[in-house]
Symmetry: C2
DNA sequence: ATAAAAAGTGAGCACTCGCTATCTATGAAC
DNA sequence: GTTCATAGATAGCGAGTGCTCACTTTTTAT
């Protein structure tokens, strides 16, 4: 059968299984339908096991938030090596960014943010992870555009692009995250790229 | 006491009270906490009264969606008479737009959209209202920018601005909708206005 | 080998939800 | 005024929730 595992390994294994299952449930079924029963079923674990490691459902959700936030930061890092001097390069970068924003991990993250909007306790416990994520994303943006835009404009551009993609994720008519961009969205991203490149400060060598 | 009312008036009165109460509950407490009990309490009406007019909770929510969609369109219409030729005018227009997007009615609308993401039945019933709203917003945008931008760019700009503001509404750290914009957001909107005006096709008289 | 500790199980509790069945109040028709 | 259909109020049901607890299984220490 299965190999013999140390207690710590067993423990970490089920915890990870629970976190992954929670993230999956959040992305697929939404916050309200992410019941402890559903999570345990998805993780292949009993209810008792869940409540041994997480004192409450909310604790499980907060831990999951930290988990997926880390995944999201990692995904963002992969974007850095894209050429952003040309319009085409910027459009490609936006495409990747869009894929990241629509990924299941980010979908999970958004579900938690929405839930936090009407749950003060959850909101408070989620705050550190949110600030952390924001900071890390700015760092990535600095690597991407740092030499092209003044620091002030950098934060502004980041805000525009990320918030727009987030907004799209919410209001997309098609619930499938892997759906193609759609004509209007494609045009919007292209236009944004064009305008940003046009706005680059002129460098006279 | 209250004046004597006809049956139809009584009926319409409680229906309107229920719709308003539902919208308020959605905006303040979120989708899951918008229970029939809570709605009835807020409307000052009994459960029996609710289920006389709406066969199911979902029917009540769908009806509320139509209700607030109408309110939102009306709010958007008020924007039209703003000067969008100058950067300052555009920034003011964005400010108004932001106020509309963060209004309780729009918050209600967003809450329903999010819920629809993980509820196929609700999603389907909400679709007509969504398409309607989208269409009406494009019409308003046509009045605002119709003479300034080609039709293709118009839809793109609309998508950028609205989706960005929607994204902001979700990810704002402060749950208070009436909170001031915040430094980065203000810069982002200003930058966007600047870039759009720069992008206007040159008119040589 | 055996005792102790840690991890995992699943039936069950207290509670809330959407919804229904039953009853009362009220305006309309005559 | 009496009758009757409709609007609204009250009480309750069954399903499903987060969480607990007495218990079994697996790992570690002696």
């Amino acid at each position: 059968m299965t190999t013999r595992r140390t207690q710590a390994e067993r423990r970490d294994g089920t915890i990870r299984a629970l976190l992954d299952a929670t993230a999956q449930c959040l992305a697929e079924r939404g916050y309200a339908a992410t019941t402890t029963t559903a999570v345990c079923a998805a993780a292949g674990v009993s209810q008792g096991a869940l409540f041994r490691h997480f004192p409450t459902r909310q604790a499980l959700l907060v831990a999951t938030a930290g988990h997926v936030a880390r995944l999201n930061v990692d995904a963002f890092r992969e974007l850095v090596d894209e050429d952003v001097d040309t319009v085409d390069g910027l459009v490609r970068a936006f495409g990747h960014l869009r894929a990241v924003v629509l990924s299941p991990a980010n979908q999970t993250w958004r579900e938690l943010l929405v839930a936090a909007r009407s749950d003060a306790a959850l909101r408070e416990e989620l705050l550190p992870a949110r600030l952390d994520l924001q900071e890390q994303m700015y760092a990535v943006a600095l690597e991407l555009w740092g030499e092209r835009l003044p620091a002030d404009d950098l934060a502004a551009v980041l805000s525009i692009v990320v918030n727009m993609l987030d907004g799209l994720a919410f209001s997309a008519l098609d619930p499938d995250p892997a759906a193609p961009p759609g004509r209007t969205v494609e045009r919007a991203l292209a236009l944004l790229a064009q305008m940003i490149v046009d706005h680059y400060p002129q460098e006279h060598a």
